[in-house]
Amino acid sequence: MRVTLTVNGRRHQADDVWEGESLLYVLRERLGLPGSKNACEQGECGSCTVRLDDVPVCSCLVAAGQAQDRDVVTVEGLADPGTGLAPVQQAFLDAGAVQCGFCTPGLLVATDDLLRHCPQPTDADIREALSGNLCRCTGYEKILDAVRLAAARSGETAGER
């Protein structure tokens, strides 16, 4: 079947999609967007997290056909091509929250969504928002630091305005 959807603001079309295929597979293998990672394929690890119509979901659990005519934002859509890395991405680098990097795209999408809805999160807010993303390298402390750093920087920017 053919699936037409918007990804990171661009209209995409994929042909010969198998009906049981996931949105994650379409993104990675058919649209050339390998940022969203395929790890558990059962919604446990969050590495494939994308925004579907502005709501974070595991793209491995969305059937490709369910994404027809819908709006998807992947980790590739976070950075601004003009200004470079998104503040969340820069904060992850600066805080040392990236080790092997496999979980990072999902954590970035989840963190980006958290800070959109809750610009100054408490530690409990952060833990709750990232509870669906597993990382086997960092022990999470640097990731929590990164989210706090991103929130603090956006607070400073807001204060300067």
């Binding site: 009906e19 996931s22 979901v57 595991c58 659990l61 969305v62 059937a63 989840a110 709750e128 509870s131």
Partner: protein, 295 residues
């Protein structure tokens, strides 16, 4: 495999009548796992995402009609006052990503004994609105679960909504797992106080082939609360009453040994959850529903 994308509820019912083996997919949080691992290869998927009314709810005077696909995250945000037990259970479902997709209709359709919504549905006395081209029938939640992953739906039926009585008293849900997020229940328990009728109802999850009520425990506690005048006095039931309630709840379970826990552990833990949820709900009853000055 076919992928059916009905644009309306009527189209969905027609498609389910024409292709009774088509498997409905809404949040996909159970079904896509099975497809990804090639444990299941349905003839057809019936996508319900285009049917907007499944994601809506109506709050009536006494009942909430909850669309089958209302995501758990919306239940947590918007229905905590009306459906506190279900809202608490919703909060324990997996992770934010899963709660943004999954809903009660899927839990009922899958009918896993470990589904997090079931104890709250049993404790509140929910009814399931099952619809086909032949018409609509309301299935009492007590009659819905038939076996492990088997339910009372006919092959041509879809779940339109779940009708839940608005809470008239405190409700609680508690679940045992190896961590606080992203965990399938080792066992779970829901308790609802119904002060309007001076009864209590319960629901046990993950500790029998189906979700079940602990009816003997309910009858015991209902009688003990009446005999002791507790609904009027607000005094908490005696520790011996709570202990007997816990013992009867544990006895109502019919658990197995599996990778998540032993039968003995599940029984023990259910007793603990029963005692705790009784303590929490009774404390809330005293604080919310009674004047603090009347003692």
């Amino acid at each position: 495999m076919d992928f059916l994308r009905p644009a309306s509820w009527q189209e969905a019912l027609a498609a389910k009548a024409e292709y009774p083996t088509a498997v409905p997919i809404a949040g996909g949080t159970d079904l896509m796992v099975e497809i990804n691992f090639d444990h299941r290869r349905p003839d057809a998927l019936l996508d319900l995402n285009r049917i907007t009314e499944l994601r809506e709810w109506e709050t009536g005077r006494q009942t909430v009609r909850l669309g089958a696909s209302v995501p758990y995250s919306r239940i947590m945000e918007h229905l905590r006052a009306e459906l506190p037990g279900l809202a608490q259970a919703a909060h324990t479902v997996a992770s934010p990503q899963i709660r943004n997709r999954g809903g009660v209709g899927g839990n009922l359709g899958t009918a896993s004994p470990a589904g997090d919504a079931h104890p709250a549905l049993l404790a509140s006395g929910a009814r399931i609105e099952a619809v086909s081209v032949r018409g609509t029938r309301m299935i009492d939640v007590d009659d819905f679960y038939l076996g492990v992953k088997r339910n009372a739906l006919a092959p041509d039926e879809l779940i339109r909504a779940v009708h839940l009585p608005k809470a008239t008293g405190p409700q609680a849900f508690a679940k045992v797992g190896t961590r606080n997020a992203m965990v399938i229940a080792v066992c779970a328990f829901g308790l609802a106080l119904h002060p309007d009728r001076r009864t209590v109802r319960t629901g046990i999850g993950s500790a029998a082939p189906t979700p079940v009520r602990a009816r003997v425990a309910e009858d015991f506690l209902t009688a003990a609360l009446a005999d002791g005048g507790h609904w009027d006095s607000g005094r908490p039931p005696a520790p011996s009453v709570a202990a007997e309630f816990a013992r009867l709840v544990a006895g109502a379970a019919n658990p197995i040994d599996d990778v998540r826990g032993t039968a003995a552990y599940r029984r023990h833990a259910l007793g603990v959850l029963a005692r705790r949820t009784l303590g929490w709900t009774w404390q809330a009853y005293r604080e919310q529903d009674r004047s603090p000055a009347c003692a």
